[in-house]
Amino acid sequence: MRSGSSLTDIILNTEDIGVTYQETIIALKSVSLDIPAGKLTAILGPSGCGKTTLLKVIAGLIEPTTGAVKVRGEKIVGPGPDRALVFQDFALLPWATVMENVAFGLRARGVPKKERKETSLHYIKEVGLLGFEDKYPHQLSGGMRQRTGLARALTINSDILLMDEPFSAVDEQMRRKLQEDLLKLLKIKSKTVIFVTHSIEEAVYLADQVVILSGRPGSIAEIVCPEIDRHGEIDLIRRQPRYIELVDEIWSSLKRYVE
Protein backbone atom coordinates (compact mmCIF):
# COMPACT_ATOMS: atom_id res chain seq x y z
CA MET A 1 0.00 0.00 0.00
CA ARG A 2 2.76 2.41 0.96
CA SER A 3 5.39 1.60 -1.58
CA GLY A 4 4.97 1.49 -5.31
CA SER A 5 2.47 4.33 -5.55
CA SER A 6 3.73 7.58 -7.01
CA LEU A 7 4.83 10.47 -4.82
CA THR A 8 2.63 12.98 -6.58
CA ASP A 9 0.15 14.03 -3.91
CA ILE A 10 2.03 16.73 -1.99
CA ILE A 11 0.57 17.62 1.41
CA LEU A 12 3.33 19.89 2.66
CA ASN A 13 6.13 21.75 0.99
CA THR A 14 8.86 24.14 2.00
CA GLU A 15 9.88 26.92 -0.34
CA ASP A 16 13.42 28.21 -0.17
CA ILE A 17 13.66 28.08 3.61
CA GLY A 18 16.59 29.83 5.23
CA VAL A 19 17.24 30.25 8.93
CA THR A 20 19.90 32.63 10.20
CA TYR A 21 20.65 33.08 13.90
CA GLN A 22 22.04 36.34 15.25
CA GLU A 23 22.46 37.62 11.69
CA THR A 24 25.64 35.60 11.13
CA ILE A 25 25.05 31.93 11.92
CA ILE A 26 23.37 30.26 8.97
CA ALA A 27 21.56 27.12 10.14
CA LEU A 28 19.57 26.40 6.99
CA LYS A 29 20.01 27.64 3.44
CA SER A 30 17.41 27.53 0.66
CA VAL A 31 15.68 24.28 1.57
CA SER A 32 12.89 23.47 -0.86
CA LEU A 33 11.22 20.18 -0.16
CA ASP A 34 8.04 18.36 -1.15
CA ILE A 35 6.46 16.02 1.37
CA PRO A 36 4.18 13.40 -0.25
CA ALA A 37 0.94 12.66 1.56
CA GLY A 38 0.64 9.39 3.42
CA LYS A 39 4.37 8.71 3.18
CA LEU A 40 7.18 8.70 5.67
CA THR A 41 9.91 11.16 4.87
CA ALA A 42 13.14 10.89 6.83
CA ILE A 43 15.42 13.88 7.23
CA LEU A 44 18.92 12.55 7.64
CA GLY A 45 22.17 14.34 8.27
CA PRO A 46 25.21 14.71 10.49
CA SER A 47 24.69 16.30 13.90
CA GLY A 48 24.49 20.06 13.76
CA CYS A 49 23.31 20.09 10.15
CA GLY A 50 20.06 21.82 11.03
CA LYS A 51 17.69 18.88 10.66
CA THR A 52 15.92 19.60 13.95
CA THR A 53 15.79 23.29 13.00
CA LEU A 54 14.10 22.31 9.74
CA LEU A 55 11.54 20.20 11.59
CA LYS A 56 10.83 23.02 14.05
CA VAL A 57 10.33 25.41 11.14
CA ILE A 58 7.84 22.94 9.66
CA ALA A 59 6.17 22.63 13.08
CA GLY A 60 5.84 26.40 13.19
CA LEU A 61 7.99 26.77 16.29
CA ILE A 62 10.77 28.65 14.50
CA GLU A 63 9.99 31.38 12.03
CA PRO A 64 12.26 31.06 9.00
CA THR A 65 14.37 34.06 8.02
CA THR A 66 13.48 33.49 4.37
CA GLY A 67 10.98 31.30 2.57
CA ALA A 68 7.75 29.65 3.70
CA VAL A 69 6.17 26.38 4.73
CA LYS A 70 2.91 25.52 3.05
CA VAL A 71 0.39 22.87 4.06
CA ARG A 72 -1.86 22.02 1.10
CA GLY A 73 -0.72 25.23 -0.52
CA GLU A 74 -1.55 27.42 2.48
CA LYS A 75 1.31 29.25 4.13
CA ILE A 76 1.58 28.39 7.82
CA VAL A 77 1.87 30.96 10.57
CA GLY A 78 2.99 29.15 13.71
CA PRO A 79 1.93 25.73 15.01
CA GLY A 80 -1.38 24.29 13.93
CA PRO A 81 -3.69 21.32 14.52
CA ASP A 82 -2.72 19.86 11.13
CA ARG A 83 0.75 19.04 12.50
CA ALA A 84 1.62 17.14 15.70
CA LEU A 85 5.14 16.89 17.08
CA VAL A 86 6.84 14.00 18.89
CA PHE A 87 9.85 15.17 20.88
CA GLN A 88 13.32 13.75 21.23
CA ASP A 89 13.24 14.14 25.03
CA PHE A 90 9.55 13.08 25.16
CA ALA A 91 8.50 16.48 26.66
CA LEU A 92 6.19 14.84 29.19
CA LEU A 93 4.89 16.75 32.20
CA PRO A 94 6.57 15.03 35.16
CA TRP A 95 3.74 15.91 37.56
CA ALA A 96 1.06 14.47 35.33
CA THR A 97 0.01 10.84 34.79
CA VAL A 98 0.16 9.08 31.44
CA MET A 99 -3.55 9.81 31.02
CA GLU A 100 -3.13 13.52 31.80
CA ASN A 101 -0.11 13.76 29.53
CA VAL A 102 -1.85 12.07 26.62
CA ALA A 103 -4.93 14.25 27.12
CA PHE A 104 -2.90 17.49 27.18
CA GLY A 105 -3.43 18.41 23.54
CA LEU A 106 -7.18 17.82 23.83
CA ARG A 107 -7.32 19.90 27.00
CA ALA A 108 -5.57 22.76 25.22
CA ARG A 109 -8.25 22.59 22.54
CA GLY A 110 -11.01 22.75 25.12
CA VAL A 111 -12.36 19.23 24.61
CA PRO A 112 -14.74 18.29 27.47
CA LYS A 113 -13.25 16.08 30.16
CA LYS A 114 -15.24 12.93 29.44
CA GLU A 115 -14.52 12.96 25.72
CA ARG A 116 -10.89 13.78 26.46
CA LYS A 117 -10.59 10.70 28.61
CA GLU A 118 -12.24 8.40 26.09
CA THR A 119 -10.09 9.59 23.19
CA SER A 120 -6.92 9.41 25.28
CA LEU A 121 -7.73 5.91 26.44
CA HIS A 122 -8.22 4.84 22.84
CA TYR A 123 -4.74 6.02 21.85
CA ILE A 124 -3.14 4.74 25.06
CA LYS A 125 -4.47 1.35 24.02
CA GLU A 126 -3.24 1.82 20.47
CA VAL A 127 0.37 2.46 21.53
CA GLY A 128 0.22 -0.49 23.93
CA LEU A 129 0.17 1.34 27.25
CA LEU A 130 -3.14 0.07 28.58
CA GLY A 131 -2.88 -0.42 32.33
CA PHE A 132 -0.32 2.36 32.72
CA GLU A 133 -2.76 5.32 32.55
CA ASP A 134 -2.23 6.29 36.18
CA LYS A 135 1.55 5.96 36.20
CA TYR A 136 3.84 8.97 36.24
CA PRO A 137 6.56 9.41 33.60
CA HIS A 138 9.37 8.64 36.06
CA GLN A 139 7.77 5.26 36.70
CA LEU A 140 8.03 4.34 33.01
CA SER A 141 10.91 3.10 30.84
CA GLY A 142 12.24 5.29 28.04
CA GLY A 143 10.30 3.32 25.46
CA MET A 144 7.05 3.69 27.37
CA ARG A 145 7.64 7.39 27.79
CA GLN A 146 7.99 7.83 24.05
CA ARG A 147 4.86 5.76 23.50
CA THR A 148 3.12 8.25 25.77
CA GLY A 149 4.51 11.10 23.66
CA LEU A 150 3.32 9.37 20.51
CA ALA A 151 -0.15 8.77 21.93
CA ARG A 152 -0.38 12.45 22.87
CA ALA A 153 0.54 13.45 19.31
CA LEU A 154 -2.04 11.02 17.88
CA THR A 155 -4.96 12.33 19.98
CA ILE A 156 -5.40 15.50 17.98
CA ASN A 157 -5.70 13.39 14.85
CA SER A 158 -3.56 15.59 12.64
CA ASP A 159 -2.68 14.41 9.15
CA ILE A 160 0.98 15.21 9.59
CA LEU A 161 3.12 13.69 12.30
CA LEU A 162 6.49 15.31 12.95
CA MET A 163 9.03 13.23 14.84
CA ASP A 164 12.29 14.69 16.12
CA GLU A 165 14.77 11.84 16.64
CA PRO A 166 12.01 10.15 18.62
CA PHE A 167 13.86 6.91 19.32
CA SER A 168 17.35 8.26 19.96
CA ALA A 169 16.92 8.39 23.74
CA VAL A 170 16.06 4.70 24.14
CA ASP A 171 18.27 1.63 23.97
CA GLU A 172 18.90 -0.34 20.78
CA GLN A 173 16.43 -3.18 21.37
CA MET A 174 13.68 -0.77 22.36
CA ARG A 175 14.45 1.36 19.31
CA ARG A 176 13.91 -1.62 17.00
CA LYS A 177 10.67 -2.45 18.74
CA LEU A 178 9.42 1.11 18.49
CA GLN A 179 10.40 1.28 14.80
CA GLU A 180 8.45 -1.89 14.08
CA ASP A 181 5.47 -0.62 16.03
CA LEU A 182 5.56 2.65 14.12
CA LEU A 183 5.47 0.78 10.80
CA LYS A 184 2.59 -1.36 12.02
CA LEU A 185 0.73 1.74 13.16
CA LEU A 186 1.26 3.46 9.81
CA LYS A 187 -0.11 0.41 8.03
CA ILE A 188 -3.49 0.92 9.66
CA LYS A 189 -3.42 4.72 9.82
CA SER A 190 -2.92 7.02 6.90
CA LYS A 191 -0.46 9.58 8.20
CA THR A 192 2.18 11.70 6.65
CA VAL A 193 5.28 11.41 8.78
CA ILE A 194 8.37 13.61 8.77
CA PHE A 195 11.01 11.87 10.78
CA VAL A 196 14.34 13.39 11.80
CA THR A 197 17.14 10.94 12.47
CA HIS A 198 20.90 10.66 12.41
CA SER A 199 20.74 6.91 11.82
CA ILE A 200 21.10 5.79 8.20
CA GLU A 201 19.67 2.35 9.04
CA GLU A 202 16.63 3.90 10.70
CA ALA A 203 16.02 6.20 7.74
CA VAL A 204 16.26 3.43 5.15
CA TYR A 205 14.24 1.03 7.28
CA LEU A 206 11.34 3.40 7.85
CA ALA A 207 11.21 5.94 5.07
CA ASP A 208 9.65 6.16 1.64
CA GLN A 209 11.75 9.20 0.97
CA VAL A 210 15.11 10.02 2.58
CA VAL A 211 16.23 13.64 2.49
CA ILE A 212 19.95 13.97 3.08
CA LEU A 213 21.11 17.30 4.48
CA SER A 214 24.66 18.52 4.14
CA GLY A 215 26.27 20.15 7.16
CA ARG A 216 26.64 23.81 8.01
CA PRO A 217 24.75 25.53 6.57
CA GLY A 218 22.13 22.82 6.20
CA SER A 219 20.88 22.38 2.68
CA ILE A 220 19.52 19.44 0.74
CA ALA A 221 22.36 17.31 -0.61
CA GLU A 222 20.32 14.48 -2.06
CA ILE A 223 16.90 12.86 -1.98
CA VAL A 224 16.67 9.08 -2.11
CA CYS A 225 13.55 6.95 -2.42
CA PRO A 226 14.35 3.56 -0.87
CA GLU A 227 11.44 1.75 -2.60
CA ILE A 228 11.74 -1.08 -0.21
CA ASP A 229 9.03 -3.71 -0.24
CA ARG A 230 7.25 -3.41 3.10
CA HIS A 231 4.29 -5.60 2.14
CA GLY A 232 5.64 -8.73 3.74
CA GLU A 233 7.07 -9.43 7.15
CA ILE A 234 8.56 -6.40 8.86
CA ASP A 235 11.36 -8.61 10.17
CA LEU A 236 12.59 -9.28 6.66
CA ILE A 237 13.14 -5.67 5.65
CA ARG A 238 16.67 -5.58 7.01
CA ARG A 239 17.64 -8.65 4.96
CA GLN A 240 16.59 -7.23 1.62
CA PRO A 241 19.56 -6.61 -0.72
CA ARG A 242 18.01 -3.22 -1.56
CA TYR A 243 18.17 -2.24 2.16
CA ILE A 244 21.82 -3.18 2.53
CA GLU A 245 22.73 -1.52 -0.76
CA LEU A 246 21.02 1.73 0.18
CA VAL A 247 22.60 1.97 3.61
CA ASP A 248 26.02 1.70 1.95
CA GLU A 249 25.10 4.16 -0.76
CA ILE A 250 23.84 6.79 1.65
CA TRP A 251 26.85 6.37 3.87
CA SER A 252 29.26 6.96 1.04
CA SER A 253 27.44 10.13 0.03
CA LEU A 254 27.08 11.32 3.63
CA LYS A 255 30.68 10.58 4.60
CA ARG A 256 32.10 13.76 3.18
CA TYR A 257 29.92 15.89 5.47
CA VAL A 258 31.15 14.14 8.59
CA GLU A 259 34.51 15.41 9.70
Binding site: G80, R83, L85, Q88, D89, L93, P94, W95, A108, R109
Partner: protein, 266 residues
Protein backbone atom coordinates in the same frame (compact mmCIF):
# COMPACT_ATOMS: atom_id res chain seq x y z
CA UNK B 1 32.42 22.28 57.87
CA UNK B 2 29.53 20.72 59.66
CA UNK B 3 31.37 17.45 59.83
CA UNK B 4 34.51 18.89 61.36
CA UNK B 5 32.35 20.76 63.85
CA UNK B 6 30.62 17.56 64.76
CA UNK B 7 33.90 15.79 65.18
CA UNK B 8 35.23 18.53 67.46
CA UNK B 9 32.07 18.28 69.47
CA UNK B 10 32.45 14.55 69.74
CA UNK B 11 36.05 14.66 70.96
CA UNK B 12 34.99 17.25 73.49
CA UNK B 13 32.11 15.16 74.69
CA UNK B 14 34.18 12.00 74.70
CA UNK B 15 36.07 13.32 77.74
CA UNK B 16 32.80 12.93 79.65
CA UNK B 17 31.55 9.52 80.53
CA UNK B 18 28.13 10.59 79.22
CA UNK B 19 29.51 10.30 75.70
CA UNK B 20 27.41 7.33 74.55
CA UNK B 21 24.20 8.58 76.06
CA UNK B 22 24.55 11.95 74.34
CA UNK B 23 25.14 10.40 70.98
CA UNK B 24 21.97 8.41 71.23
CA UNK B 25 19.52 11.24 70.83
CA UNK B 26 19.42 15.04 70.64
CA UNK B 27 16.94 14.89 73.49
CA UNK B 28 19.60 13.71 75.92
CA UNK B 29 21.95 16.37 74.61
CA UNK B 30 19.33 18.99 75.43
CA UNK B 31 18.85 17.53 78.90
CA UNK B 32 22.59 17.53 79.48
CA UNK B 33 23.14 21.15 78.52
CA UNK B 34 20.06 22.19 80.45
CA UNK B 35 21.71 20.54 83.46
CA UNK B 36 24.92 22.49 82.88
CA UNK B 37 22.90 25.69 82.62
CA UNK B 38 21.01 24.94 85.84
CA UNK B 39 24.29 24.20 87.66
CA UNK B 40 25.97 27.46 86.54
CA UNK B 41 22.81 29.39 87.35
CA UNK B 42 22.52 27.90 90.85
CA UNK B 43 26.17 28.78 91.52
CA UNK B 44 25.20 32.40 90.87
CA UNK B 45 28.38 33.16 88.96
CA UNK B 46 26.61 35.30 86.41
CA UNK B 47 23.65 37.50 87.17
CA UNK B 48 22.77 37.49 83.51
CA UNK B 49 22.22 33.74 83.61
CA UNK B 50 19.58 32.72 86.14
CA UNK B 51 19.00 28.99 86.83
CA UNK B 52 16.87 27.24 84.26
CA UNK B 53 14.29 26.28 86.89
CA UNK B 54 13.65 29.96 87.60
CA UNK B 55 13.24 30.55 83.88
CA UNK B 56 10.73 27.70 83.72
CA UNK B 57 8.77 29.42 86.47
CA UNK B 58 9.02 32.76 84.62
CA UNK B 59 7.82 30.98 81.53
CA UNK B 60 4.52 30.04 83.13
CA UNK B 61 4.20 33.62 84.42
CA UNK B 62 4.89 34.88 80.95
CA UNK B 63 2.14 32.75 79.46
CA UNK B 64 -0.31 34.26 81.94
CA UNK B 65 0.59 37.87 81.21
CA UNK B 66 -1.56 39.77 78.77
CA UNK B 67 1.48 41.72 77.54
CA UNK B 68 2.91 38.47 76.19
CA UNK B 69 -0.24 37.54 74.31
CA UNK B 70 -0.58 41.02 72.88
CA UNK B 71 2.99 40.80 71.65
CA UNK B 72 2.35 37.29 70.36
CA UNK B 73 -0.73 38.39 68.45
CA UNK B 74 1.13 41.31 66.96
CA UNK B 75 4.03 39.09 65.93
CA UNK B 76 1.76 36.49 64.38
CA UNK B 77 -0.21 39.17 62.54
CA UNK B 78 2.76 41.04 61.11
CA UNK B 79 4.55 37.78 60.28
CA UNK B 80 1.50 36.40 58.49
CA UNK B 81 0.74 39.54 56.51
CA UNK B 82 4.39 40.21 55.65
CA UNK B 83 5.09 36.64 54.58
CA UNK B 84 1.80 36.39 52.69
CA UNK B 85 2.52 39.59 50.76
CA UNK B 86 6.10 38.45 50.07
CA UNK B 87 4.85 35.22 48.53
CA UNK B 88 1.87 36.74 46.73
CA UNK B 89 3.96 39.52 45.19
CA UNK B 90 7.30 37.71 44.95
CA UNK B 91 6.07 34.77 42.86
CA UNK B 92 4.50 36.89 40.07
CA UNK B 93 7.59 39.13 39.95
CA UNK B 94 9.83 36.06 39.77
CA UNK B 95 7.72 34.57 36.98
CA UNK B 96 7.78 37.87 35.09
CA UNK B 97 11.57 38.05 35.43
CA UNK B 98 11.84 34.46 34.29
CA UNK B 99 9.82 34.88 31.11
CA UNK B 100 10.66 38.46 30.14
CA UNK B 101 14.26 39.43 29.46
CA UNK B 102 13.34 43.08 29.77
CA UNK B 103 11.80 42.65 33.23
CA UNK B 104 14.88 40.72 34.26
CA UNK B 105 17.18 43.51 33.08
CA UNK B 106 15.23 46.17 34.93
CA UNK B 107 14.70 44.29 38.20
CA UNK B 108 17.50 41.80 38.74
CA UNK B 109 20.07 44.32 39.97
CA UNK B 110 17.66 45.53 42.67
CA UNK B 111 16.63 42.06 43.73
CA UNK B 112 20.25 40.94 44.05
CA UNK B 113 21.18 44.14 45.87
CA UNK B 114 18.45 43.70 48.47
CA UNK B 115 19.03 39.97 48.76
CA UNK B 116 22.47 40.52 50.24
CA UNK B 117 21.95 43.97 51.79
CA UNK B 118 21.88 44.35 55.59
CA UNK B 119 18.17 45.10 55.80
CA UNK B 120 18.37 45.80 59.55
CA UNK B 121 20.10 49.08 58.76
CA UNK B 122 17.08 50.25 56.76
CA UNK B 123 14.49 49.75 59.52
CA UNK B 124 15.21 53.04 61.36
CA UNK B 125 14.58 54.81 58.07
CA UNK B 126 11.21 53.08 57.73
CA UNK B 127 9.94 54.26 61.11
CA UNK B 128 9.42 57.94 60.22
CA UNK B 129 7.62 56.92 57.04
CA UNK B 130 5.46 54.08 58.28
CA UNK B 131 5.21 54.96 61.95
CA UNK B 132 5.86 52.82 65.01
CA UNK B 133 3.45 49.98 64.57
CA UNK B 134 2.40 47.06 62.44
CA UNK B 135 3.25 48.72 59.12
CA UNK B 136 6.94 49.06 59.87
CA UNK B 137 7.22 45.47 61.10
CA UNK B 138 5.32 44.19 58.05
CA UNK B 139 7.64 46.18 55.79
CA UNK B 140 10.64 44.69 57.59
CA UNK B 141 9.28 41.17 57.13
CA UNK B 142 8.76 41.83 53.42
CA UNK B 143 12.23 43.32 53.01
CA UNK B 144 13.67 40.22 54.65
CA UNK B 145 11.54 37.63 52.89
CA UNK B 146 10.54 38.70 49.40
CA UNK B 147 13.87 38.63 47.53
CA UNK B 148 14.55 34.96 47.96
CA UNK B 149 11.04 34.14 46.68
CA UNK B 150 11.69 36.24 43.58
CA UNK B 151 15.16 34.78 42.93
CA UNK B 152 14.09 31.15 43.37
CA UNK B 153 10.92 31.53 41.32
CA UNK B 154 12.92 33.12 38.51
CA UNK B 155 15.49 30.33 38.65
CA UNK B 156 12.71 27.75 38.47
CA UNK B 157 11.04 29.45 35.51
CA UNK B 158 14.24 29.91 33.50
CA UNK B 159 15.13 26.25 34.01
CA UNK B 160 11.87 24.91 32.60
CA UNK B 161 12.82 22.71 29.68
CA UNK B 162 12.37 24.40 26.29
CA UNK B 163 10.76 21.27 24.90
CA UNK B 164 7.88 21.49 27.42
CA UNK B 165 7.09 25.04 26.31
CA UNK B 166 7.42 24.00 22.65
CA UNK B 167 5.08 21.11 23.36
CA UNK B 168 2.49 23.56 24.68
CA UNK B 169 2.92 25.77 21.64
CA UNK B 170 2.47 22.91 19.15
CA UNK B 171 -0.87 22.10 20.80
CA UNK B 172 -1.96 25.70 20.38
CA UNK B 173 -1.81 26.73 24.04
CA UNK B 174 -2.17 30.43 24.73
CA UNK B 175 0.58 32.30 26.58
CA UNK B 176 -1.48 32.10 29.77
CA UNK B 177 -2.08 28.38 29.40
CA UNK B 178 1.65 27.84 28.91
CA UNK B 179 2.40 29.85 32.06
CA UNK B 180 -0.25 28.20 34.24
CA UNK B 181 -0.23 24.63 32.87
CA UNK B 182 3.46 24.22 32.16
CA UNK B 183 5.80 26.90 33.49
CA UNK B 184 4.45 27.31 37.03
CA UNK B 185 4.04 23.59 37.82
CA UNK B 186 7.46 22.88 36.31
CA UNK B 187 9.01 25.60 38.47
CA UNK B 188 7.13 24.46 41.59
CA UNK B 189 10.05 22.72 43.35
CA UNK B 190 12.15 25.91 43.15
CA UNK B 191 9.17 28.05 44.15
CA UNK B 192 8.60 25.86 47.21
CA UNK B 193 12.30 26.13 48.13
CA UNK B 194 12.00 29.90 47.78
CA UNK B 195 8.97 29.91 50.08
CA UNK B 196 10.77 27.78 52.67
CA UNK B 197 13.79 30.09 52.69
CA UNK B 198 11.50 33.11 52.87
CA UNK B 199 9.74 31.69 55.93
CA UNK B 200 13.13 31.42 57.67
CA UNK B 201 13.94 34.99 56.69
CA UNK B 202 10.48 36.26 57.68
CA UNK B 203 10.92 34.78 61.16
CA UNK B 204 14.17 36.72 61.47
CA UNK B 205 12.55 39.82 59.98
CA UNK B 206 9.61 39.90 62.36
CA UNK B 207 11.87 39.58 65.43
CA UNK B 208 14.61 41.92 64.18
CA UNK B 209 12.01 44.49 63.17
CA UNK B 210 10.43 44.52 66.61
CA UNK B 211 13.77 44.61 68.39
CA UNK B 212 15.10 47.53 66.36
CA UNK B 213 11.89 49.49 66.93
CA UNK B 214 12.15 48.30 70.57
CA UNK B 215 8.77 49.65 71.60
CA UNK B 216 6.27 47.14 70.28
CA UNK B 217 5.65 43.40 70.34
CA UNK B 218 8.34 41.03 71.53
CA UNK B 219 10.90 43.77 70.87
CA UNK B 220 9.13 45.96 73.43
CA UNK B 221 9.06 43.07 75.92
CA UNK B 222 12.73 42.27 75.41
CA UNK B 223 13.56 45.92 75.97
CA UNK B 224 11.46 46.16 79.12
CA UNK B 225 12.86 42.95 80.64
CA UNK B 226 16.45 43.96 79.87
CA UNK B 227 16.16 47.49 81.17
CA UNK B 228 14.48 46.30 84.40
CA UNK B 229 16.87 43.37 84.58
CA UNK B 230 14.16 40.69 84.68
CA UNK B 231 16.51 38.08 83.25
CA UNK B 232 14.25 35.05 83.93
CA UNK B 233 11.51 36.46 81.72
CA UNK B 234 14.04 37.62 79.17
CA UNK B 235 15.39 34.09 78.78
CA UNK B 236 11.92 32.57 78.84
CA UNK B 237 10.95 34.86 75.98
CA UNK B 238 14.13 33.95 74.06
CA UNK B 239 13.25 30.27 74.42
CA UNK B 240 9.68 30.92 73.27
CA UNK B 241 10.91 32.76 70.18
CA UNK B 242 13.43 30.00 69.39
CA UNK B 243 10.85 27.26 69.76
CA UNK B 244 8.37 29.17 67.61
CA UNK B 245 10.88 29.70 64.79
CA UNK B 246 11.99 26.10 65.00
CA UNK B 247 8.41 24.83 64.82
CA UNK B 248 7.43 27.01 61.86
CA UNK B 249 10.55 26.09 59.90
CA UNK B 250 10.06 22.42 60.75
CA UNK B 251 6.48 22.57 59.48
CA UNK B 252 7.52 24.17 56.21
CA UNK B 253 10.22 21.56 55.66
CA UNK B 254 7.67 18.83 56.23
CA UNK B 255 5.41 20.46 53.65
CA UNK B 256 8.27 20.84 51.18
CA UNK B 257 9.15 17.17 51.37
CA UNK B 258 5.57 16.29 50.49
CA UNK B 259 5.38 18.62 47.50
CA UNK B 260 8.90 18.11 46.11
CA UNK B 261 8.16 14.54 45.05
CA UNK B 262 8.44 15.27 41.37
CA UNK B 263 11.53 17.46 41.68
CA UNK B 264 13.59 14.26 41.81
CA UNK B 265 12.03 12.95 38.65
CA UNK B 266 12.72 15.83 36.30
Amino acid sequence: MLNSNLRKNKSFIRSFSLNKLLQKSPFWSLIFWAGVWEFIGQMGWMTLLPPLSDIWYAFSELLESSAFWEAFAMTARTFGIGLGLSIAVGIPIGILMGISKRADKILSIWVNLFLSAPITAVIPALMPILGIGDATVIATVILFAIWVVIIDTQAGVTHVKDSLVEMGRTFGCSQWQIVFWIVIPAAMPEIITGIRLSVVRAVKGVIVGQIVIALIGFGGLFNTYLSYFIMERFWALIIVVFVMSFTIIGLVELLERRIAFYARTR
